[in-house]
Symmetry: C2
Subunit: 203 residues, 2 copies
């Protein structure tokens, strides 16, 4: 198998961090988005949505969507569990992963794509008002995570999970979106420093 990677793109990083946490080596095929390689016919044949990352199995089967790729590896290599343990644990990881993605990452991504000049050729139409509307939503989501970290060590409980990875790639994406963790969110800052210090963060 091989993973068509996207370098600094948050969703590509999400899968690389997940694989590093699991200790699973997968050969990477670089996809240079700056050179628009994700819009070439051979890439679109694998994922018509033109999005990275893409996992290609040995028989040619294609998996897209970063969480789906992560779930495939979770099923093949259950330990350590990054999607939770037990019915309630798995549901709680799903809940927090979705909150991190829909409330935080989605808002940060919208602020970036609709406000950053470099995105004008990709996000058509680029709607500045929509980018601006998402900035307070991102901040509100950061506060929600800071609050949650008052009760648990990690985002979805006391074990590290894919929800932490999703929150981490979203927080790392704040800077290009010209956003930052609010000064008073000390728990979230500590959590971020802890995740950034894990070896997987370099993946």
């Amino acid at each position: 198998m091989r993973l068509f990677d996207g370098g600094r793109v948050p969703n590509a990083r999400r899968v690389r961090i997940f694989l590093a946490e699991k200790g699973i080596p997968v050969p990477l095929v670089p996809v240079d988005l700056g050179r628009k390689e994700h819009r070439l016919p051979e890439f679109l044949a694998r994922n018509p949505l033109g999005k990275v990352p893409v996992l290609e199995l040995d028989d040619g089967t294609i998996l897209t969507e970063s969480v789906a790729i992560c779930r495939y590896f979770e099923e093949l290599h259950p330990e350590p569990p990054l999607f939770g343990r037990g019915a309630l644990g798995r549901a709680q990881v799903e809940m927090w992963n979705r909150r991190c993605e829909l409330e935080l990452y989605g808002a940060v991504q919208a602020a970036f794509r609709h406000l950053h000049p470099a995105m004008a050729e990709y996000e058509v139409p680029q709607i500045a008002a929509w980018g601006e509307a998402n900035k307070p939503r991102a901040i509100e989501a950061l506060r929600m995570l800071d609050h949650a970290l008052g009760a648990t060590r990690f985002i979805a409980g006391d074990s590290f999970s894919i929800a932490d990875i999703t929150a981490f790639i979203a927080v790392e994406f704040l800077k290009p979106a010209r956003l930052a963790i609010p000064e008073d969110c000390a728990r979230l800052r500590d959590w971020h420093a802890g995740v950034a210090a894990r070896p997987s963060a370099a993946a």
Copy 2:
């Protein structure tokens, strides 16, 4: 346990259809969004995001996010599997469920919330340009599903799954968003008629 429901809201319907497919009876507590019951303190205490549905377990544990609630019941009652079977099958359901949600449902929802006059007091600011930008995205997603149905009986393969439920609630939401399945998407129309004829669709 009890499920705080939201009537016609697509995500509330997603959980009710899922439970009906599984044959799991769960007591419903109606939440009247027209009367803004989702903004009352007792609701916000259960879900600070103010969103339905919310599952409350007997010990008071709260689960939000419709897919997380569905996954909880999938773990407790694995048959029939609605999140796929086997590593690849589960990953493919995850992939298609996310495509249905992010590409189709998200676009339909944005078109509805940013263009419908009744949403002006809920979606602040309401940005018509963003609503309009999502209409062609919704149509493109419908064409993607129509294409996929050329190879498989259901959205994520030859078995009915949560991806079909997500696609179904999104397609049912087209009308309020003033959208429709393109005339030439015959496979998607047939699939929709088939899903609408299942007893669960009345849930």
